[in-house]
């Protein structure tokens, strides 16, 4: 089933400039893997060397953080929207 993946501005240069991509997948992990296969430059920004989602990257299904569900194993339903959200922090 195709789901929409929303790409934040900071990562679009690694996804051929796309702000939204439609991909097939039964769970979040499958969609993220297909995203990384389609845009290999994006992979290092999403995953660490162990293949885990980076701490500075959040992924939401609709309004829910996948870390509050089954992480990459979270199943997807038709029409779900998957949003990649960069962690934003700083300070002097």
């Amino acid at each position: 089933m195709p789901v929409k993946v929303m790409i934040p501005t900071a990562l679009r240069q690694f996804a051929d400039g796309n702000d939204t991509i439609e991909l097939e997948g039964v769970d979040v992990g499958q969609v993220l893997d297909r995203l990384a296969d389609t845009f290999p430059q994006l992979k290092r920004h999403l995953f660490d060397d162990d293949g885990e989602l980076r701490n500075f990257v959040n992924v939401y299904i609709n309004d829910e953080n996948i870390r509050d569900r089954q992480r990459q194993g979270t199943p997807l339903q038709p029409g779900d929207e998957l949003t990649i959200v960069p962690a934003i922090a700083g300070g002097g």
Binding site: P8, V85, P86, A87, A89, G90, G91
Partner: protein
């Protein structure tokens, strides 16, 4: 490097937010569009500093939920989240090591210094793709008359 173009109302809004938040850090979003000549800011949106601990005076955090809400609204208006602003109370308008640690490429990071409750120097920074350091991004401020000036 594209210069960052603000309107005077944005300059006023960022400085006003920084002064109201003092001695804590303020933070917010920069929405707009890039074209061949400039990174043009169309709107600034205040965010709540969600740091929620004793480090509000020198740290800021924007929640993912706030990011999603603003990003969705921006997309609906054909705008992009192009960066963020935050204040440095009683500290210079230069990125800290902590700023470097949390920054992303592409985004513009405005920093406004606040000294004794009054806004002072404002700067903007872009992270290099290798994440090694920031480069300063020139800011121009467009007045209603159409004139522009560099701001500091």
């Amino acid at each position: 490097m594209l210069q960052l173009q603000l309107k005077s109302e944005h300059d006023d809004a960022i400085r006003g937010h920084a002064q109201r938040a003092y001695p804590h850090e303020c933070c917010g979003f920069l929405l707009g569009r890039d074209d061949d000549q400039a990174r043009r800011i169309v709107r600034v949106v205040e965010a709540q500093n969600d740091r929620g601990d004793s480090q509000l005076h020198n740290r800021f955090t924007i929640t993912p939920e706030a990011f999603m809400r603003v990003d969705k609204a921006a997309r609906a208006e054909k705008l992009d989240v192009l960066g963020f602003y935050h204040s440095h109370p009683n500290a210079p308008a230069r990125p800290s090591t902590y700023d470097l640690e949390y920054a992303w490429p592409v985004y513009s990071y405005i920093i406004v210094a606040v000294a004794d409750g009054k806004s002072a120097k404002m700067t903007c920074w872009l992270l290099r793709d290798d994440r090694g350091r920031f480069d300063e991004q020139p800011i121009t401020c467009a007045r209603e008359t159409g004139s522009t000036k560099e701001i500091h």
